[in-house]
Symmetry: C2
Subunit: 314 residues, 2 copies
């Protein structure tokens, strides 16, 4: 049997036909454009699913279910709300079934990435596993007791634990959320602050060369030996580790996987110092069970694979 995973982005929809090992056998992708309403949206999802079936040479009878990763909160077959698409309390699975007679399973998009890494990536075989995605924001997903955990619906908003009470403003309305420090956006802010203080730093030349300050700017300058950039990288690793230790003290997983653009930073500037800080600080050091901190490995495919594997985790 196969399943189909659909990754619902703010601007694009990507669907994949996935086999039981997690291999993607066919992919279709379309722009979402202006949101056409929930009814039409359900039809588009069904059409995408039909398109990947056709491309993969399989029929409805070969498919267990379709999974969709939604940028928002879901409950059962209902979309509770979405951040960038206007849907609230939409019975999407029911609407979908009017166009394609298959179960539609729903997951939050970050949760789907966690399910993907857990079922087919670096989290395979673990009982308790956390993915932390370091992108524009800090997202993530929790696999607890071999199931996706969302609590009463909105669990897993791991970017929104405050690490600096009264600190940098966060999009969620609070101040000092982990996301405001450990996201690429937070890293760019730290980099710009350091540049303003240190006009002699190589950060300026490297930023100019790449058309502006990016998440990787500090890592590039640090690799060239710039002291200011090295300090920015150390600060960033410290903020990242701070939230990780809080997560680990609360949930004690076997493995934490870091994904998103920033996780691609050189190992000795990010993962190594973070591992050291976590090992020094987390409670699990008392029982010699410090979780492994690793890079996520499925990259952009995590969303499709995770959506297609939702049936194993919910």
């Amino acid at each position: 049997m196969y399943s189909i995973g659909i990754d619902v982005g703010g601007t694009n929809l990507k669907a994949g036909l996935v086999d039981e090992s997690g291999a993607i056998l066919a992919v279709e992708r379309i722009p979402l454009g202006v949101f056409p309403g929930a009814e039409k949206f359900a039809e588009i999802l069904a059409d995408l699913a039909k398109a990947v079936m056709e491309q993969g040479g399989v029929t409805k009878e070969d498919i267990s279910y379709v999974g969709a990763g939604i940028p928002g909160a879901v409950s059962g077959g209902t979309v509770l709300y979405t951040a960038n698409i206007p849907m609230k309390n939409v019975p999407l699975a029911e609407l979908f079934r009017q166009h394609l007679d298959l179960p539609l399973l729903l997951g939050n998009d970050a949760d789907c990435a966690a399910v993907g890494e857990w079922s087919c990536g670096v989290g395979k075989g673990t009982k308790h596993f956390i993915v932390v995605t370091l992108g524009t924001g800090v997202g993530g997903g929790l696999i607890l007791n071999e199931k996706l955990y969302t609590g009463a619906g909105c669990g897993g908003e791991i970017g929104h634990i405050v690490i600096c009470e009264g600190g940098a403003p966060c999009n969620c309305g609070r101040k000092g959320c982990w996301e405001a420090y450990a996201s690429a956006t937070g890293l760019i802010r730290l980099t710009k602050e350091a540049m303003a203080e240190r006009p002699e730093s190589a950060l300026h030349a490297i930023a100019a060369e790449h058309g502006g300050v990016e998440g990787r700017t500090a890592f590039l300058a640090a690799e060239a030996g710039d002291e200011t950039a090295l300090a920015v990288c150390a600060d960033y690793a410290n903020y990242l580790a701070s939230g990780l230790v809080s997560l680990i003290n609360m949930l004690h997983p076997q493995t934490v996987a870091l994904g998103g653009g920033v996780a691609a930073a050189p190992e000795h500037l990010l993962l190594e110092p973070v591992r050291k800080l976590v090992a020094e600080q987390c409670y699990a050091r008392h029982t010699d069970q410090v979780p492994a901190i690793v890079r996520a490995e499925l990259g952009n495919d995590a969303g499709i694979i995770g959506a297609a594997m939702l049936g194993r985790a919910i």
Copy 2:
């Protein structure tokens, strides 16, 4: 059928015979004194269990199991380590069985309090439930998907999420842990800092009257209308809410129960402002599913009842 719950404190052991409704039918209590070694400790636990059976007029055949709440980390029938008692990797259930042929279930003491409130107190009927104990430290327990959650062994250390990076030192070795602000110890520190700044505050007279600054000093002075004390209470509520929102954003329970001495503070000075802050800040406000914030209700019995109910939660 009955079960027996044993609450292992740093200085005392309390055992209770508990029926299926959670009622305590008999209690025995002895001082622990100098730790006599793991073998002897297992024998003392067995003797205590026998004593409550005798007092309650029941026999071994009427008992499903004995549960024990341990101040430390456990895994299955093994004590991994304890904070104030010298045990490391002790197969306590096995040692216990040499003296009394009943299963010994182990739980962390704070986890047992959560199990107690979930099975017989304010958490009854919830699927996801968190107890936060505001005492010398900040402890707690997580009931997720109707089971006690401990992750790979050390999960649920909810006092050790950092809310003020680089802030007040914590006993765990980190700086700025929630425990350093939201515990009674943290509240006493906030009170003393305010007193040092405000010699005219009524806090001084109230502290003198009660023989020193306590957790309740700020609440007593605030009730008498003292401005400085009102500000301390507001600051404390803010720190408490900060960690609660982080917990809720991560785990989204239906109910959070506050226990420990500080939770007894007047409702309008603590629970009401905390509920307001949580409702304004947590992610679940987007789906109108803000968790209930309530007072724990089992008090000192929570440990015995929870240990006796461990079989329902693990």
